[in-house]
């Protein structure tokens, strides 16, 4: 990436959930390199603080908020402290995801409470966060929401149980919301980053060959393309990160 392309997100405020590891961490660093101010959240404070320090060293104005995506109070606090600090959010990346128990059990064997947890983190939290932030975006008639999905949403792999269900629901949420946003300046996407070399992927598929997996840093670049692009992707489509921007 040349200098001419840098700081395409200068003056923008992005909120990234699940920013302590994997894709979320890579997104935080990529967004910081492009000049965005960042609100980052994760459940575990030490790993989150490490990422916050890393992006601060890149010159980003950063706010780190420890939050549990299953808690409505935590979500409300995350939104409020972010807006108290930055006054607006231009880009929301609903990245935090819960895989569920590993090794991945069949649905017939799935612990019901774990099922609820996965749905809360992967569907309810993105709904609540988006709802709490989209009002400001609609007032400004400008904003981008990216929901991170997975091919598990459309394939039906054995053992991907609640995770697959949650991502299918998240894509349904995205499609409906896109239709309701028609004619406004607010864009929403469901982006499938593909199989990446992350902790989550290792937990799900311990035997996968890392050489065949995408690097989160490369995938993050595709996200930058998407948010910085003046050409919105077509309504109703899921976007595969591998298809562009690498």
């Amino acid at each position: 990436m040349g200098d001419l392309e840098a700081t395409r997100l200068a003056g923008k405020v992005a909120l990234i959930t699940g920013a302590s590891h994997g894709l979320g961490r890579a997104l935080a660093i990529a967004f910081a390199r492009e000049g965005a101010a960042l609100a980052l959240c994760a459940r575990r404070a030490p790993a989150l603080d490490e990422v916050a320090s890393a992006v601060a060293r890149l010159g980003a104005d950063v706010l780190a908020v420890q939050a549990d995506m299953r808690s409505a109070r935590d979500l409300a606090r995350l939104v409020a402290v972010t807006l108290d600090r930055f006054h607006r959010v231009d880009i929301l990346v609903n990245n935090a995801s819960e895989l569920g128990p590993t090794p991945l059990p069949y649905l017939a064997d799935y612990p019901p409470a774990a099922f609820d947890d996965v749905l809360q983190v992967n569907v309810t939290a993105p709904f609540r966060l988006t709802q709490a932030l989209i009002g400001g975006m609609l007032l400004r008639n400008h904003g981008v929401v990216i929901n991170v999905t997975s091919d598990a949403a459309i394939t039906g792999y054995p053992g991907w149980g609640a995770y697959a269900v949650s991502k299918a629901a998240l894509e349904g949420l995205t499609r409906t919301w896109i239709a309701e946003l028609a004619g406004t300046g607010v864009r929403m996407y469901a982006v499938d980053p593909g199989d990446m070399d992350t902790d989550m992927h290792r937990a799900a598929m311990p035997d996968a060959d890392p050489c065949e997996l995408a690097r989160p840093d490369d995938v993050a670049r595709a996200f930058i393309q998407l948010v910085a692009s003046p050409e919105p992707a077509p309504v109703g489509q899921r976007v595969e990160a591998a298809a562009f921007g690498r």
């Binding site: 409505a72 109070r73 409300a76 606090r77 409020a80 402290v81 807006l83 108290d84 006054h87 607006r88 709490a132 009002g135 400001g136 609609l138 007032l139 309701e180 004619g183 406004t184």
Partner: protein
């Protein structure tokens, strides 16, 4: 602004106090009723908020208050172990002005000692003293980490006519942005994006200002009856001022919007971009330099809200409207029905 449940109109039956938001009463947010008062025709009509567009024209501008409601009631422990409830009213950078009440209904005021230490949401603060102009408000050191502490353990301020706790999201407008209001800017609480986007397609534009509301009641009938006035932080951004100055008719959504826009209005009838603390008091005879119409809730005649309405309506029409609202069984207070004054 929310009225205090004091000295009710003799003719206001208790069941007309909305005790739940519309969307928890089996309606939609925008399913509340709308009384339309036309000052030119001296007429009063009855409709639904969802029909708002039929009373407006292309070119009208709706201005909303984008302040987000915070859970402004928080428990505090005094050094003697007593638990009290603090209600955040005014948030200056270094010093907060709070009401201190008993945590249980009817939430009577509790006197603190100057210099005493309070433990609030895991942090400590010190009572600096009373406000000279409003002695029921205590000056305390601003909490470290600011409103983050309130958000961790506070609850929305709730008055006696709302018997059960209502989740915070129902105290927020659908366009809530920056946090800072102690109480819901309630006229806009019933607006839905479905309605607002429909209005936009109809050529009725939307703009926003910021005004962080304070408390509508200091939990003292005699003090409340004198309509205590305190400063509220507001911002009229440049694009809002431009929009207001460009259109033929400006409809304020809520009295907080009137307060902000009229503070920013010059004698030339133009709004200018401005931010700061407003102490503007509007009442009968106050000039309305930029606001042409008002969407507002129903609050009791004892509340300061009524004073502001007198800037819009002459006494006979105001009287008629409120009698008709009671006869027609409109619901009152922050979760109640609405009134459009044109």
């Amino acid at each position: 602004m929310v009225a205090s449940p004091i000295r009710p109109l003799p003719s206001l039956p208790a069941e007309l106090r909305a005790n739940l938001p519309a969307e928890l009463r089996g309606l939609r947010r925008d399913g509340v009723r709308l009384m339309v008062i036309d000052r030119t025709a001296q007429s009063i009509r009855h409709a639904r908020l969802a029909e708002l567009g039929s009373f407006l024209r292309a070119g009208d501008l709706l201005v909303v208050n984008r302040s987000r409601t915070i859970p402004a009631a928080v428990a505090a422990r005094r050094s003697n172990g007593e638990i009290v409830q603090l209600r955040l009213c005014v948030r200056h950078a270094e010093e907060w002005h709070v009401l201190c009440v008993n945590p249980d209904p009817p939430h009577a005021n509790v006197a603190l000692r100057v210099g005493e230490r309070l433990s609030v949401a895991g942090t400590d603060t010190v009572v600096r003293g009373r406000r000279a102009d409003l002695p029921l408000l205590w000056r305390i050191d601003a909490l470290s980490e600011g409103i983050e502490r309130m958000l961790r353990s506070g609850e929305p301020i709730r008055y006696s006519y709302v018997p059960e706790p209502v989740p915070l999201s129902h105290y927020e407008t659908v366009y809530a942005n920056e946090p800072g209001s102690a109480e819901t800017p309630s006229a806009g609480r019933s607006l839905s994006w479905e309605l607002l986007l429909d209005l936009r397609r109809q050529g009725i534009d939307l703009s926003d200002i910021l005004l962080h509301t304070g408390l509508s009641s200091l939990q003292d009938d005699a003090v409340d009856a004198e309509h205590p006035l305190f400063e509220e932080w507001f911002a009229v951004p440049p694009n809002a001022a431009q929009a207001v100055n460009r259109v033929p008719r400006v409809i304020a959504v809520g009295t907080t919007v009137v307060r902000a826009l009229e503070t920013a209005a010059g004698h030339d009838g133009h709004a200018r971009a401005m931010e700061g603390w407003t102490r503007l008091r509007l009442g009968p005879g106050s000039p309305l330099r930029v606001v042409d119409g008002l969407l507002t809730g129903f609050h009791e005649p004892q509340a300061s809200h009524f004073d502001l309405l007198r800037a819009f309506l002459a006494e006979p029409l105001l009287d008629r409207a409120y009698r008709e609202a009671i006869a027609e069984r409109y619901l009152w207070h922050e979760f109640g029905d609405l009134c459009l004054i044109l």
